[in-house]
């Protein structure tokens, strides 16, 4: 009786492995294209990207792009191969569910220079304005994330303010009618940047050494 099950099982396993092996290269190519596109979007000017992993010693080392670890950052490079900045993932609870987004950090500007929502289930027409509202996205053209002199925290943690009240470069203007989603975005960025920037900034060199490899 078990012969039949085992037989079917073996056949199934074969089929799965076969399909997996055939589709894997295609899927991986698409994935990296997708990621590349996202990175380029949050790092205007970038033309290629590479993944880096934060090691336990606090260094960054190059890793394969399908690494599923969660301590990854992506470096973006322009045509000449020089570093444009880093793309970092952040996530947090929004209005309806967890929002995941990618933001671009520029070493030169010491600022966040772009964001892109990877995943959200916010209300269409309200919460999803964080992806499309031009006014809101303008907050991220140059969002100040300078570090303190000690280099271990943001000089001005990112602040959320009511729509139209932005007066400092580290403030984020909310979206009227979607206060919660836009505030969640700000909170996410503040926490994530406060954690990552002090770690990546001193190690800018780690990213430049591998620029040729991508």
């Amino acid at each position: 009786m078990y012969r039949a099950v085992v037989g079917v099982g073996v056949a199934c396993a074969l089929v799965i492995v076969l399909v997996y092996e055939i589709t894997r290269p295609i899927i991986e190519r698409k994935r990296s294209e997708l990621r590349e596109r996202a990175v380029m979007q949050v790092l205007p000017g970038a033309r290629s990207s590479a993944a880096f992993r934060l090691t336990d010693e606090g260094r960054f080392e190059s890793t394969s792009s399908d690494d599923e670890a969660d301590n990854l950052v992506f470096a973006g490079f322009d045509e000449s191969g020089s570093l444009v900045g880093l793309a970092i993932e952040a996530s947090g609870m929004g209005y309806q569910d967890t929002i995941r987004l990618l933001y671009g950090y520029s070493f030169d500007a010491e600022a966040i220079i772009g964001i892109r929502v990877l995943d959200s289930r916010e209300t269409p027409g309200l919460g999803d304005l964080i992806e499309s509202d031009a006014q809101f996205l303008r907050n991220f053209e140059k969002l100040d994330v300078r570090l303190t002199d000690g280099g271990d925290a943001l000089l001005h943690p990112i602040e959320f303010v009511k729509p139209g009240q932005k007066s400092e470069p580290w403030q984020i203007d909310g979206i009227s009618g979607a206060t919660i989603s836009s505030q969640a975005t700000a909170d996410m960025l503040r926490d994530s940047a406060g954690w990552w920037i002090p770690r990546v900034r001193p190690r800018k060199a780690d990213f430049q050494t591998t620029q040729g490899e991508q």
Binding site: I16, D70, M93, Q96, T98, I180, A184
Partner: protein, 193 residues
């Protein structure tokens, strides 16, 4: 990065993103076993129980699959392991507590191959929950499922004697009620900040 607190995971799975009313998982038993309040309560209890079991299973399998680097076996092993574990637990309960078995037993086979159970396993691995988080998630999902089911049963029982137009009877009525309940649950949005 999954530092979300257990409480917020629980509230999220139970109220804000209720499995049945928001994620649309387990609709079939939701529509099928929500006509009588006592049955609904017991069904809910059974689902919660199976969810806990399968959450633990899924946590173990995922760890194993990552170790042997065989992500393509995820689905097939989830379903196989969950189904057989539930079967084992069922036999165990039958031996240990016939009363409990009579209360929950008839539902177990129905639930084993149910999308809420598998969905739970898939979601918790996709979100990279740790062990305690997985348990909180399973508990939240189970309690949320029970809540939806029991509320639904109350409403359907109340409507049993109503003079509803003929075309609304049955599944259509259940869907309308589910839609209204789903709308009620929208009020919980934002609770788990």
């Amino acid at each position: 990065m999954s530092e979300t607190s257990l409480w917020s995971i629980f509230v999220n799975a139970c109220l804000i993103n209720n499995f049945v009313l928001v994620y649309f998982l387990g609709i079939c038993p939701f529509l099928g076993v929500s006509e009588k309040m006592p049955t609904a309560t017991r069904m809910g209890a059974a689902v919660t129980f199976v969810m806990l079991v399968s959450s633990v299973c899924a946590y173990g399998i995922q760890a194993l699959l990552v170790a042997i680097d065989a992500p393509y076996l995820k689905l097939i092993s989830f379903i196989a392991v969950i189904a057989s574990t539930v079967q084992l637990v069922e036999m165990f309960i039958k031996k240990m507590s016939p009363v409990l078995f009579r209360a929950l037993g008839i539902f177990l086979p129905l639930i084993t191959t149910n999308c809420a159970i598998l969905g739970l396993a898939l979601f918790q691995t996709n979100r990279g929950y740790g062990f305690a988080q997985s348990i909180a998630y399973a508990l939240g999902a189970g309690v949320g499922f029970t809540l939806a089911l029991v509320l639904m049963a109350g409403l359907r029982e109340k409507l049993e004697l109503a003079k509803t137009p003929d075309i609304v009877k049955g599944t259509a009525m259940a869907l309308i009620l589910a839609g209204l309940l789903s709308m009620c649950f929208m009020g919980f949005a934002g609770l788990s900040k």
